[in-house]
Symmetry: C2
């Protein structure tokens, strides 16, 4: 078989590949005798065989051939693998190239190190079975399948020198996020971004089934990827020698094509969308493992997915097959007497930073440049008295974000992401600083689109999230704005990212990355055009389940606090920050400096709204913009219904202040909590989301028994804004009534208050059903000082 490789090159590449395969099998099976210096015995085996071989030889094959391209061209490449359960292969390769030992010096490049390398894999207090943060060169865990290509594109954005090779599993390709993410090529600018080299790993099977893409006609397969806008190359086979030559040849072609595209875009300033090349690589699942076991085909079938030989402990034939399999890689040719990988083989790997396990982008925190932020105080909304001015909080924030964008255009390290919703969420001012990225066809009518735009909009929450993760993990900054209800689409992606951060923090060699910032708007209380399907504040609960040192939740009550909170979030690292704020015109409560102080504390009394500093009869607490509005309106209602009632208003911006400090770093200590909420007075708490989470955060608090939380209780439809609060018992009248009900001081007023309540709620129902909008007294309500 002729091809670009000399006989010697081919031999070395094959040996290198065999070494990687050998180490992969070793990690899964062995805890001893790593060089097979003596016949394999039961004592050499791990008691629990955990790990996945099926995907691994293919990953190893690609790795060694990418190494060749890197060496040939001094290319800057990252390697992302969708099926992250192929970690044994990545660990093996980073070990062979030396980046593993550099990261973990105790895993030496000798027989001792080999033994430890094998033993630690999927071993208690060792390393996990996936391409986790522990693996050098990884930014994509791959445990939950579907995000590899998104991470790859996110990494390539604004890294014009980088090529991200991304292996997509043919099973992974069936997932929704992956199926949509091929279209990312319409958002990549060949001049200013790097390249993504997708490699569809068509090994034919997933866990227990064939894959769709392996079982459609070849012309359909080709059409699909042409339809996605790629120029697909095909390579299929199982004879290693032939495959090495062909792989080298096709990678030469792919590499040249990438460079030609970039040349055309960069040198010839051709802005048209290229058809990026990709590779469809068809090899047997479990390539090189035993062909049949117990009379059943294994190599090339789903049976190779995890552990091709599973009964090695009890079945001597399996043990024999395992030894035969291991020896088929001829370890004695690969490692010297010390157990060190032979110099002449190790030598074909790239050196230093060019090793994929040492690529600096995969430890993105090392490249992190802090954002240059405008002074958020300059955007604060002035007013004469609290509540006298109404603005759209997100629109105000849009002005600030526009300037965040502007100030970092030079550094090219900030992007915004939204599922077609930035304008709907009133952040459109950002388009003044940078357009919406669009590398597909333009028409005359288009507005604010740009081939160099830094605002990423596509109708997929998954794409937004995945790109952003890839962008953050490679050391940049981002901001994701989304409708509150639909952020649940990426619940599981958030989980995985939060888990990544948690694990990465425990690794001293991983540098901190910028936080992932969510702004949820068009929230549950103001879905004017939409209805019940758009009403769901449960992301708060979802986020709150993750590690306290990783997550933050902010409910700024107005525009000025939203500015302060966002400024803070953009400076933080290693968190997920969740900010929830409305887009509709709403009162501004705190002036610039009060807003800053309030946000710094995260919680506080609003003495101007209550009866000042003395001990109150009731605490009216609130978190969220609509709850704050209703609470303040309730205070004015109480002036009429129970004038002598002494009210204290407490507003919560930082939700975790409610939790004890033992449980969350932002939590109040018990004295401070009791100072705010008292130890025995009723607390009427209006909350943006599902009420239960307030109980969950406060159940250890002294006054918890007196907490009466009003929030969203899953009642909704297309109705007026105020009626939404009525449907969920969070309206001003219900809050006022509850205060009177709970406060012994005014119990005598309860009957009258109940009567007034039933009058006003009846008036409300009749008015809105007749007029289709809220009563003038509600719509036109303004805060007034006592």
């Amino acid at each position: 078989m002729s091809g670009p490789l000399s006989t010697q090159e081919l031999e070395k590449i094959d040996a290198y590949w065999r070494a990687a395969n050998y180490l992969s099998v070793g990690q899964i099976y062995l805890k001893n005798n790593p060089l097979l210096e003596r016949p394999l015995t039961l004592e050499d085996l791990k008691p629990r065989l955990l790990g996945h071989f099926g995907t691994t030889p293919g990953l190893n094959f690609i790795y060694v051939h990418l190494n060749r391209i890197i060496r040939l061209h001094q290319a800057n490449m990252m390697y992302l693998i969708g099926p992250g359960h192929g970690a044994p292969g990545i660990i093996a390769n980073t070990f062979l190239e030396g980046s593993y030992t550099e990261t973990y010096p105790n895993i030496e490049r000798n027989a001792d190190g080999l033994k430890r390398l094998f033993r630690q894999f999927s071993w208690p207090y060792g390393v996990p079975s996936h391409d986790a943060p522990e693996v050098p060169g990884s930014i994509s865990e791959g445990g939950e399948l579907g995000y590899s290509l998104l991470h790859a594109y996110g990494a390539a954005f604004d890294n014009p020198g980088l090529i991200v090779a991304c292996v997509v599993g043919d099973g992974e390709a069936e997932t929704g996020p992956l199926a949509a993410s091929w279209h990312s090529n319409k958002f990549l600018n060949p001049a200013t971004d790097g390249a993504v080299l997708p490699i569809l790993h068509l090994n034919g099977y997933k866990i227990a089934n064939p894959t769709l893409l392996a079982r459609i006609d070849p012309d359909e397969l080709e059409a699909l990827f042409r339809g996605y806008g790629y120029n697909p190359y095909f390579l299929e086979g199982d004879d290693p020698q032939t495959m090495h030559q062909q792989m080298a040849a096709v990678l030469d072609t792919l590499y040249a094509e990438i460079r030609a595209i970039q040349h055309k875009a960069r040198e010839q300033k051709d802005a048209s969308r290229p058809r990026w090349p990709m590779l469809i690589l068809k090899t047997p699942k479990g390539w090189t493992c035993p062909r049949t076991v117990d009379g059943k085909p294994v190599e090339g079938t789903w049976r190779a997915h995890q552990v091709p030989l599973s009964k090695v402990h009890s079945n001597p034939e399996h043990l024999r097959l395992l030894e035969e399999w291991l020896r088929s890689y001829r370890p004695q040719e690969l490692f010297d007497a010390n157990g060190t990988f032979r110099e002449e083989l190790a030598d074909i790997a790239p050196k230093g930073r060019l090793r994929m396990g040492a690529n600096i982008h995969a430890n993105g925190g090392k490249l992190l440049v802090p954002l240059v932020l405008p002074n958020f105080r300059d955007y604060a909304v002035p007013f004469e008295t609290p509540g006298s001015v109404e603005v759209s909080a997100t629109q105000v924030l849009g002005g600030y974000l526009r300037d965040v964008m502007r100030k970092n255009l030079g550094t090219k390290n900030f992007r915004m992401f939204a599922p077609d919703e930035n304008a709907s969420n009133r952040l459109q001012a950002v388009y003044e600083a940078s357009g919406k990225r669009w590398n597909a066809r333009y028409e005359d009518v288009d507005e604010s689109l740009s081939t160099e735009g830094r605002v990423m909009e596509v109708l997929s929450e998954h794409l937004c999230q995945g790109w952003l993760e890839g962008y953050l993990l490679t050391g940049r900054h981002g901001f994701f704005s989304c409708y509150e209800a639909f952020i649940h689409l990426i619940d599981s992606m958030f989980n995985q990212h939060a888990k990544w951060i948690k694990s990465a923090k425990e690794l001293p060699w991983r540098a901190d990355i910028a936080s992932l910032n969510y702004l949820l708007s068009s929230h549950v209380w103001r879905q004017d055009h939409n209805g019940f399907s758009h009403q769901d504040p449960g992301f708060i609960d979802h986020v709150a389940n993750k590690k306290a040192d990783t997550v933050r939740i902010y409910l700024p009550p107005d525009a000025n606090t939203l500015l302060s909170v966002t400024d803070h979030c953009l400076r933080t690292k290693n968190y997920v920050n969740l900010i929830i704020a409305g887009k509709q015109a709403a009162p501004v409560w705190l002036d610039r400096e009060s807003a800053v102080r309030h946000c710094a504390a995260g919680i506080g009394t609003w003495d101007w709204a209550g009866h000042g500093e003395g001990e109150p009869d009731v605490v009216m607490a609130c978190a969220g913009d609509v709850p704050t509005l209703e609470t303040l309106a309730a205070v004015t209602v109480l002036r009429e219904w129970a004038p002598e009632l002494k009210v204290r208003v407490v507003n919560v911006v930082d939700l975790f202040t409610l939790e004890p400090v033992e449980d969350h770093p932002h939590g109040l200590n018990h004295e401070d909590f009791n100072r705010l909420f008292t130890e025995d007075k009723p607390v009427i708490f209006a909350f943006h989301g599902y009420p239960a989470i307030v109980h969950k955060l406060t159940y250890k608090r002294a006054n918890h028994g007196n907490l009466h939380v009003h929030g969203y209780k899953e009642e909704g439809t297309t109705t007026t804004p105020f009626d939404m609060t009525v449907l969920n018992d969070m309206d001003r009248y219900t809050l006022a009534l509850d205060a009177i009900r709970q406060a012994p001081a005014v119990r005598h007023r309860l009957d009258a208050a109940e009567q007034r309540y039933s009058e006003v709620s009846q008036r409300h129902k009749l008015y809105v059903s007749e007029h289709g909008e809220d009563m003038p007294e509600v719509k036109g309500w303004k805060w007034t000082a006592r």
Copy 2:
């Protein structure tokens, strides 16, 4: 323009379309003057203009043309629309065909009814703005975009006589679930299933951006759909007359092609996968609305998405344009003096059940046939003493499900769904009754695949969930098994389905549908092959946020209770049932009848495990299989560490028993709760998921202050099963120690216990790091009676 339509037909179809468009605009804008009998004034306008016009004329165009096909062929068709915000069009059409008035008699077919029809839309206590349960003929709300095609396929399965026309928004097509769902055609059997007719609605825009599919080259677009396995037809234009002729012609072709495919499969028994036809329909967004407004193009752009004219209240020119627009449909030609749709036009609609708004499948509960269930007791695992027999609970369940499958093969109304995980979750026995559905290419090596299989496996949780929803909503039954961690992928889909059920229940005309049943296995505590990414029990919390009358959560502690719980779930309607059970071998605690009794109560003391009936010193509570095991082991530890301690064991199967009965129908009343948990004794509670939810459910309970919940606290990796419990402080030793710490009776034993605890936990750490598996005393532990 010639074509299949006679001049008269064409005129009628156009008039019908104009009527639908007129009614759509009317719903968005008018509360009065529905027939424009006098010039439009401000008083005629709704105060808040809520709704979406952009998508609607296209939907209406398709509707009237499908009507023609239905009439021509007496076809049984359903109409699903992805962009559910096009509801004004569906409401208009069902009104015109009469199915709306049949469902809602107060919306009469005259001027009065018209006025009410307009007024109620997006009006308080009226109807929501989306294609919600309130809309006759709908099974897909469309509020959260991406699931229309999945619902369509789910509806078509096992309905060989049905054609499901499904409009996919070109924006919607960018979502992950939708992008993957085109591949559903590889799971549809042309002989035994119905047909899906996908119509890609290429109106060019989403909310504020062009769509990808409208901005790629035509050859890419065609290749993409050929690659997805379809035979795409294209129709593009904006001249109504031409478009009517062409649409009629192309639908004739599409219909004939569908029938030809079915004929080939059914009559000629050709089982090869057909290339189903689909339509790519390119029309202007907001077709027929004002071409320009304020000098800016509106028709054919994103500006038409919601309300093309938004300033009608304040801008007389907008008001004039609105009137002109409404009159452009020539309402006087469409409605008679009474405001009744003219007979000769109404007459072109299908009649009776053939009207798409009256299709019985869209009110699937009407077709629901209860499952024939085997006696689950026959599958119960016998034992001599509790804990003496170990089995895989899900494997036992597999045998039962196999027979559920068998007994309902004739009725064809039960399918199982899993993302490539049924076998991994040990349910493979079901393949004995029915294979895995596969209509793509076969190879020799394949096992358990079948073109008529009723087990649906694809590597996409979204596809499983979406198909299942469509299947349930059309009156059938299903069962979804999934890895616990990755069920979060469909959090948002679950939300939408739970919302659908809640709203549908409030409509007397909607019949009850079968519950959506989840079995989560490969759960957080036993991720032997995988690690941290696979460890997340948060779906419990997510489900618990939904309406109490819609959701149920079960944590059966062993195989026998799993059988009983599953049997129960399969009989229920209108719920989402969540069952969590492990797949690894684990002890069976309850015999057949005890299991039945325990599950019926949902919670109970296990007297055989504790100190019998007297008042205990401590309550050891548990929910979930691993927590139950650790709790019972803790009881045996306590016998050594604090022999005099009187222990009561309480096991929770039905999680909502913990909640007060006021909050959940399954909740215990306070007396019963106190009887179980005492009012003042410490409760050491080992819980399957995040601990906080137990507090959330019990914070109103008398003894809440004494509840010490141990559960998953987001500590995980690839380690031994027991070490997972140690990492999360839920192991037997920690539980035992906590019991001694909290129970005053044995406080004197605390020092000694702490010492023993530190000894044993050190021994554990050393042992697992040395041996890679759990200590013999742990692995080999067996329950023994006192």
